[in-house]
């Protein structure tokens, strides 16, 4: 009986641990293992090459561009998305049919499949016949190249990501805003604090757990962007939108270099792991939990 009561928790968590091990832990270690080999997935012989894949990767100018692209994409899309959705949340956090409608409209991109979204945006961004350029022209502005130029292609993808993500972020922010006790605002109103001060001293600190959560999931999500790239650009033109996950896919499943792809996967793992760690270490101390 006592044995059972001791064992019981382990038995209870065993299924989820098993799933976790098979689909997360094992693949991670297998990937790290593969990154030291040359292998095409099929051939029974794996050729051990030590750190060669990593050396080759960091000497490859294409890979360095891919890393820069990923960083630029992540920083731009996360910061834009967070700032815009916070602004929207502050504006939408009130009663009224109109605000409910806007909130619904903003949230709707979140539930549409990313594949359809990508296809529609490709039409909108068509440099010659797309709606966006037609609108720009109507207002007498210069047409943009959108996806067809390496200078603007990554920004165009950021635009899609922000449009897609803002609604969800705003929704979470609104929930966060509504949980801030009203009496704090009443107190600051009595003290005649201006709006900026109220925002900086009350709203932001009280919202910090939400902000922290959103920044982390947005960061990780952005670093793993794949669908929009696979559908809209395939990494082009001239590698300007090739990011880490797409690069891994390209090498693993198009060029059949699974060792090299695994090495890139290890880099992705390290970057995402490091980001999370930095956030938990540094920022969690400044996050205010009630």
């Amino acid at each position: 009986m006592t044995v059972w009561s001791r064992l019981r928790p382990y038995v209870m968590v065993a299924p989820s641990i098993a799933v976790f091990s098979i689909f997360f832990i094992y693949p991670i270690f297998y990937m790290i293992f593969l990154s030291f080999y040359n292998w095409d997935f099929i051939n029974p012989v794996k050729e051990f090459v030590g750190f060669n894949n990593f050396v080759e990767m960091f000497q490859n100018s294409e890979f360095l561009q891919v890393l820069t692209n990923s960083l630029n994409y992540t920083i731009l899309s996360v910061s834009l998305s967070i700032v815009i959705s916070l602004g929207l949340a502050m504006w939408l956090n009130r009663e009224g049919a109109w605000y409910g409608f806007v909130q619904g409209a903003l949230f709707s991109p979140h539930i549409i499949s990313l594949v359809s979204v990508s296809l529609v945006w490709m039409w909108l961004m068509d440099p010659k016949f797309g709606l966006l350029n037609a609108i720009l022209e109507m207002f007498g502005m210069q047409k943009l190249d959108w996806l067809s130029s390496p200078d603007s292609s990554l920004l165009s993808l950021v635009l899609v990501a922000v449009w897609k993500g803002v609604g969800y972020n705003a929704l979470i922010f609104i929930a966060g805003l509504q949980s801030i006790p009203k009496d704090m605002y009443e107190a600051s109103a009595l003290d005649e604090a201006n709006r900026w001060r109220t925002f900086y001293k009350i709203t932001l600190p009280m919202l910090s757990p939400t902000l922290f959560f959103l920044i982390i999931i947005n960061l990780i999500g952005s670093f793993q962007v794949f669908e929009t790239i696979a559908i809209m650009t395939n990494g082009g033109p001239v590698n300007s939108t090739n990011t880490l996950v797409f690069y891994i896919y390209e090498y693993g499943f198009r060029y059949f270099k699974i060792g090299y792809a695994s090495a890139a996967g290890v880099v992705l793992l390290l970057v995402v792991g490091l980001l999370t760690l930095v956030y938990f270490k540094l920022l969690s101390r400044r996050v205010h939990y009630q």
Partner: protein, 437 residues
């Protein structure tokens, strides 16, 4: 307030769902079972799976043939499954093979035959051919260059193509040009110039595509990879001249070079909507282009890709392969299917249904095809052009090299400070590094 929001959500959802539902491909039309005699064995039929790529007419052709095969005998049942583009099919097959459930029969884009044969994913077919005493000489020799790997047979020609030059003859006649189309690069340039109407239409709209580049290099008398497979062979006039021509025509505004990922589809749309007068595309698009031309009310023409020093095109399309490591029964079943699919009657059916090349000499010379060529001479252009066709490179690293070449040429397209020479030599340098590893 909440109501409006949820109505909105529901509408969006409904719209998304209908949009997805309407894209199902239509298949199984015009089935004419061919009676190749069934044996009355009471054995349970063996089931095998067959993967194919591409939709529309090509998918219909695949589904129809499989249905005909299933009805023609009762020993083997083939299940046909659509798998997207060639690249999609290849990566899925690779993953499926690693997991031990690859399809028994599938397609190899011809440049990929080498990769899969060398990695041991596909079955050598020599023994089957010898056992059945199949007449290999009946396959058109120009199409066999991507069937042998290290002198062993791994794949049989199935849906094969070459690029051809499609023409809008209505526009060409309006411009007072010879409706036969341009014969060489000078004429090609001249045609494009005269057919361009500023801000309204281009002479030609095209993507930077490795397949067309291989053609232009061949027309200049060059090849992509050296004989020994150890170095790039295009870093000279044969590889630079094509890029020079493209850049010149693009700068003059008579050629529209798409830089987006869907540039290939864009070029087709431009041609279909009469925003361009010419386009390079596969013969496989022939029946579809004929249909569009009729709907849009213009006269369609086809001709060889223009010559530089000589005519020249790469071949393309897919060969059929068998997965390695199957049980003897499955091997027999798979072979039976491959043999049937690549035989004379079926190649005639596939060719007239889609515009793909007939892959057998006996098919080209058959009465059915002769009659078709008489009625619709456009079908014949690609067959005649085969005389100048060659195989595609099959090196394991070629897909990577193809991407490098495309990227370097595109770099020169978007950045006018990069010359054709610089772009090609950079691509060759990177290709050499890959080939020498």
């Amino acid at each position: 307030m909440k109501k409006i929001g949820s109505i909105l959500l529901a509408t969006t959802l409904a719209l998304t769902l209908t949009a997805c539902g309407s894209s199902n491909s239509s298949a199984n039309q015009e089935v004419t079972p061919s009676g190749s005699g069934s044996t009355g064995s009471a054995k349970k039929p063996i089931e095998i799976t067959y993967w194919y790529s591409w939709g529309d007419k090509i998918a219909e052709n695949n589904e129809n043939l499989v249905k005909m095969f299933n009805e023609s005998q009762d020993e083997v049942i083939v299940k046909a499954e659509y798998q997207g583009s060639y690249a999609d099919q290849h990566s899925k097959a690779q993953a499926a093979f690693a997991a031990g459930n690859a399809p028994e029969v599938w397609q190899n884009e011809i440049a990929s035959v080498g990769i899969f044969a060398e990695s041991g994913m596909t079955q050598e077919l020599t023994a089957f051919v010898e056992k059945d005493q199949m007449d290999m000489k009946d396959f058109i020799p120009g199409l066999m260059g991507n069937s042998y790997v290290n002198d062993k047979l791994y794949a049989l020609p199935y849906l094969r193509s070459t690029p051809i030059l499609y023409l809008n003859r209505t526009m060409i006649k309006e411009a007072g040009l010879d409706p036969a189309g341009p014969k060489n690069w000078q004429e090609f340039e001249e045609y494009a110039r005269k057919l361009t109407i500023k801000d309204q239409r281009y002479g030609i709209s095209m993507p930077i595509d490795i397949w067309y580049y291989e053609g232009f290099v061949r027309q200049s008398g060059g090849t992509m990879i050296s004989e020994d497979g150890k170095s790039a062979a295009f870093n000279n006039a044969t590889g630079i001249d094509p890029v020079k021509l493209w850049l010149k025509m693009k700068d003059e505004g008579i050629m529209n070079i798409g830089t987006t990922d869907d540039a290939g589809a864009q070029a087709k749309t431009d041609f279909h909507n009469q925003r361009s007068a010419m386009m390079f595309s596969s013969t496989a698009d022939l029946t579809n282009n004929m249909k569009v031309a009729e709907e849009q009310g213009f006269e369609l023409g086809t001709t060889f890709m223009p010559a530089n020093h000589t005519y020249g095109v790469p071949t393309g399309g897919a060969n059929l392969v068998m997965t390695s490591g199957l049980s003897p029964e499955k091997q027999e079943a798979a072979w039976k299917f491959i043999k049937w699919m690549t035989s004379k009657e079926q190649t005639i059916y596939a060719s007239s249904y889609t515009g793909y090349l007939p892959s057998r000499v006996s098919a080209v010379e058959s009465d059915e095809m002769k009659k078709l060529y008489e009625e619709k001479p456009l079908f014949k252009v690609a067959v005649d052009q085969l005389e100048y066709a060659g195989p595609r490179p099959m090196q394991k690293v070629y897909p990577e090299i193809a991407k490098i070449i495309k990227d370097e040429i595109l770099r020169a397209v978007v950045d006018s400070s990069i010359t054709a020479e610089a772009a090609v030599s950079e691509a060759a340098k990177k290709a050499d590094a890959l080939l020498n590893k």
